[in-house]
Every structure is written in structure tokens, then in C-alpha cells.
């Protein structure tokens, strides 16, 4: 039988009332002579949402929009690629105007009515193409300075986006960071740990990424936070063997889910608060990424590879409020 000390890394502490408690911790309340637990009212859970119209995977890394106003565009049908675009309203997916380019594994940022997607894979090279969506139609915009695909790092909004990492076969692991101002991309002074096929989110001045590939892949077990100037290693995430997973959200309330583990695929999901990763309830069907929206309190994943491509959507409802409970024998 496991002991609390082994699981938690510390023995049960004695505290006066509820002072200084930590989420998930059991302690002995010396003021009230009771054992207590700091927990959440409800666990995070994934429910099925209605299916997408086009079966595909590898649409966009990063989160675009919300659960009630999401977007999925492009992707790999297996082969060929797709230029189909769909909007999610929290209930149904609706097909809308297609993207200008037919690409997969692109970076993305913004909302359903104001987003930017960039880079991506034709076969097998990557591109610098950038497109903007206004909720109705797509328009071409300024090209990236570095071609990057295979799931680059992305964050921000349509008028203040960040691009980093990515892979450009056969040998280039892209390390430059670029900022988009709504029209053009500008290379930033500092580079990033080369990365692709992971996940990312946030803003130009508070971004994050985790995973996955690159020439230092074995070192990519930590999240990295971007403060507008440089990347800083943050907390280790739990399931570090995965690539091509879904996820997104702001630096302080993001999530990742699923992924390719070679061998097999995983259902594991985690949330990130900017410092720590926490495992949450698994997604229902193991899969690689398709498209994502929202954050750790309310998010969704759509499409992906199971390994066959799927139209399935899953919706995340985050954990409930933190509360202190008294432990009893009943």
C-alpha cells in the first residue's frame, strides 16, 4: 500500500486551521482537531461534442477562439491535405469559406472572427504563407521570414502574434522567434529552444510551449515561458514522451491532451498554470491533434488521428472551485 508521504513527498502537516494549505494537500487542523483535505468541488472532465464535417488531423497547433466560438482549418486528410474551414459554436460545426492554401500542421493565434494562421506543410517542405480570417473570408498577409511547419510554436492574437520553432525538412530545426503585427512578421533578437510538434499558447509577452521534437528533443521535458524577451524553463510536465498533442490557452490557464507516443497513442491530459503541470481526467479517445480552442477551464479538441482520422470533438470542463473538506470515516 502506498503511503501519503511517498505520494505527496511530505508527511501530513499540522496547521492551525486552514492557513497555508496547498491544493490536493491533506493536513491536520490543530485548531479544530480534524484532518482536512484541500480539493476541488468537481473534477475536470471531457464530454463528447458534435462531430466535425471533414475528417482530418494536424490542422493547427495552438488554441483559436473558445468552446463556444472555435475554428478548425486545413489539416491532413491522409493524403491529400484539406483547405476546409469549420466554425464551432459550442454545439455544431458549420463549414465556412476554405483557406487560401491547402496545408497542414500550421501555427495559429486569435479568435474565431479574427485569427491568423501561418507556416505549415505541403509535401514535404514547409512554407512562409500567412493568412488572416475575419469570420467570413481569408486574406493573404505578410510572409514569415522563416518557413516553419510540423506544428510550430504559436501564441497571441491576429494583430500581435508570435511564431517560434517548427521544422523545415530535411534538416532545419527553426529557432527564430517572429512577431506579427497584423501585416508583417519581424524577427526578434532572441531564439527559442528548437521545437515542433508540441503545444503552445499565450501572448507575445507571456507565452508558453511544451514538447516535443528538435535536435534537443531529449531535453524537451519542461515547459518554457516567454516573457517578451527570452524563454525560461518552467515546470516539468508529466507525460513527456508524447508528440503531436492537442492543447492551448493562456500561459496561466492552458491544457494539453492526447498525442502520439510511439508506440501507441495516449489519452493523458494535463493543465498548466504557468508554473506547475497537473494531470487531469483523460480524454475519451486517444488521438493526435486536430484543432483546439479555449483554455483549461473550458476548452475543446476537434478531429485528430486515432490513428485513423476522426471528426470527433471533445469538450473540457475544468475543475470546480477549490474547497476545504473535513475528512471523516463516513
Amino acid at each position: 500500500m502506498s503511503e501519503y508521504r511517498e505520494i505527496q513527498g511530505a508527511a501530513v502537516q499540522s496547521r492551525a486551521s486552514s492557513t497555508g494549505t496547498i491544493k490536493g494537500e491533506i493536513w491536520y487542523d490543530t485548531a479544530n482537531y480534524k484532518f482536512k483535505l484541500n480539493t476541488v468541488t468537481t473534477s475536470a472532465a471531457w464530454a463528447t461534442g458534435n462531430n466535425m464535417n471533414t475528417t482530418r488531423r494536424a490542422m493547427m497547433t495552438g488554441s483559436v477562439g473558445t468552446t463556444n466560438a472555435g475554428l478548425g482549418a486545413g489539416g491532413y486528410v491522409g493524403p491529400p491535405r484539406s483547405n476546409a474551414c469549420e466554425e464551432y459554436d459550442g454545439t455544431n460545426w458549420s463549414s465556412v469559406n476554405p483557406t487560401l492554401n491547402t496545408l497542414s500542421s500550421r501555427g495559429s493565434a486569435g479568435t474565431q472572427t479574427a485569427c491568423v494562421i501561418f507556416g505549415g506543410n505541403p509535401t514535404p517542405a514547409t512554407v512562409t504563407a500567412t493568412e488572416k480570417y475575419n469570420g467570413t473570408s481569408w486574406t493573404a498577409s505578410g510572409a514569415l521570414n522563416a518557413a516553419r511547419g510540423y506544428g510550430p510554436i504559436c501564441a497571441g492574437t491576429q494583430t500581435a502574434a508570435l511564431a517560434g520553432g517548427g521544422y523545415n525538412p530535411p534538416v532545419t530545426f527553426v529557432t527564430s522567434v517572429e512577431y506579427f503585427n497584423g501585416s508583417t512578421w519581424a524577427v526578434q533578437p532572441n531564439t527559442n529552444p528548437n521545437n515542433y510538434a508540441g503545444q503552445s499558447g499565450g501572448t507575445q509577452t507571456a507565452a508558453w510551449f511544451v514538447g516535443a521534437g528538435g535536435t534537443t528533443a531529449t531535453n524537451n521535458t519542461e515547459a518554457y515561458n516567454w516573457n517578451g524577451t527570452s524563454w525560461t524553463a518552467s515546470g516539468n510536465y508529466n507525460d513527456t514522451t508524447r508528440v503531436n498533442f492537442a492543447g492551448g490557452g493562456p500561459q496561466t490557464a492552458s491544457f494539453i491532451a492526447g498525442g502520439d507516443q510511439d508506440p501507441g497513442m495516449t489519452k493523458n491530459a494535463e493543465t498548466y498554470d504557468g508554473t506547475c503541470w497537473a494531470a487531469i481526467t483523460d480524454i475519451n479517445t486517444a488521438r493526435t491533434y486536430g484543432c483546439t480552442g479555449g483554455d483549461s477551464s473550458s476548452g475543446f479538441i476537434g478531429g485528430g488521428g486515432t490513428p485513423a482520422n476522426t471528426t470527433a470533438t471533445e469538450e473540457l470542463t475544468g475543475a470546480g472551485a477549490v474547497t476545504n473538506k473535513t475528512l471523516t470515516t463516513s
Partner: protein, 104 residues
């Protein structure tokens, strides 16, 4: 006694698995519309009924999954780009679909 039961059911989307289902049961989807859910569990049995699940034995479910994986492996094997390295193929497509072994 088995811990899980299997069924085949089509995921129709919203309501197929609710947040309450996910919170109270361990439901896992596999290729071929195969679903694994807790056995000897009233809520698990209700979920199978609610989704009009066609119950399968472990071996029947395994055969359905195997067929789907074999098909996905064939698709992966035949998706080649001239001059592409094995590593780059894995980067582009993800790793080759692996066999899945179902358990009770």
C-alpha cells in the same frame, strides 16, 4: 471477474459521453467505434444501453480493433514522398500505427 466490458457504438457527438459519464466512469474509445467501459457497474451498463451499444466479447472487440489498425498501418505504409527520410516520414505522419491489445 472482468473489470471492463466492450461495445460497438457510433459516437453521435453531443451527449454521447457527458461530463457526468466521464466523471463517474472510465470510458475509452478505440478504432472501429469500439468502446470500453466499467463492467459490473450499474452506471456502466446504463451507458452502454443509452448509446445503443452492441456488446462484444473481448475477442470480438479485439478483432474489430485489429482490423482497423491493420487498415491504418496499410495507409501509413503506402503514404510515401519521394526522397523523404524515415525520420521525416514519422515527423510528417506521426509514428506508424501500433497494434492495440485490449484488456479485461
Amino acid at each position: 471477474m472482468a473489470n471492463y466490458q466492450y461495445c460497438v457504438a457510433t459516437n453521435w457527438g453531443k451527449g454521447f459521453i457527458t461530463h457526468e459519464d466521464a466523471d463517474q466512469l472510465e470510458i475509452t474509445g478505440f478504432p472501429g467505434n469500439v468502446w470500453k467501459v466499467n463492467a459490473n457497474n450499474k452506471q456502466g451498463n446504463h451507458w452502454v444501453t443509452a448509446v445503443a451499444g452492441d456488446k462484444k466479447t473481448l475477442s470480438e472487440a479485439q478483432a474489430i480493433v485489429d482490423a482497423q489498425i491493420t487498415s491504418s498501418q496499410s495507409v501509413w505504409d503506402s503514404d510515401n514522398v519521394e526522397g523523404e527520410s524515415a525520420d521525416d516520414k514519422s515527423r510528417r505522419l506521426g509514428s506508424r500505427p501500433e497494434d492495440i491489445t485490449l484488456t479485461e
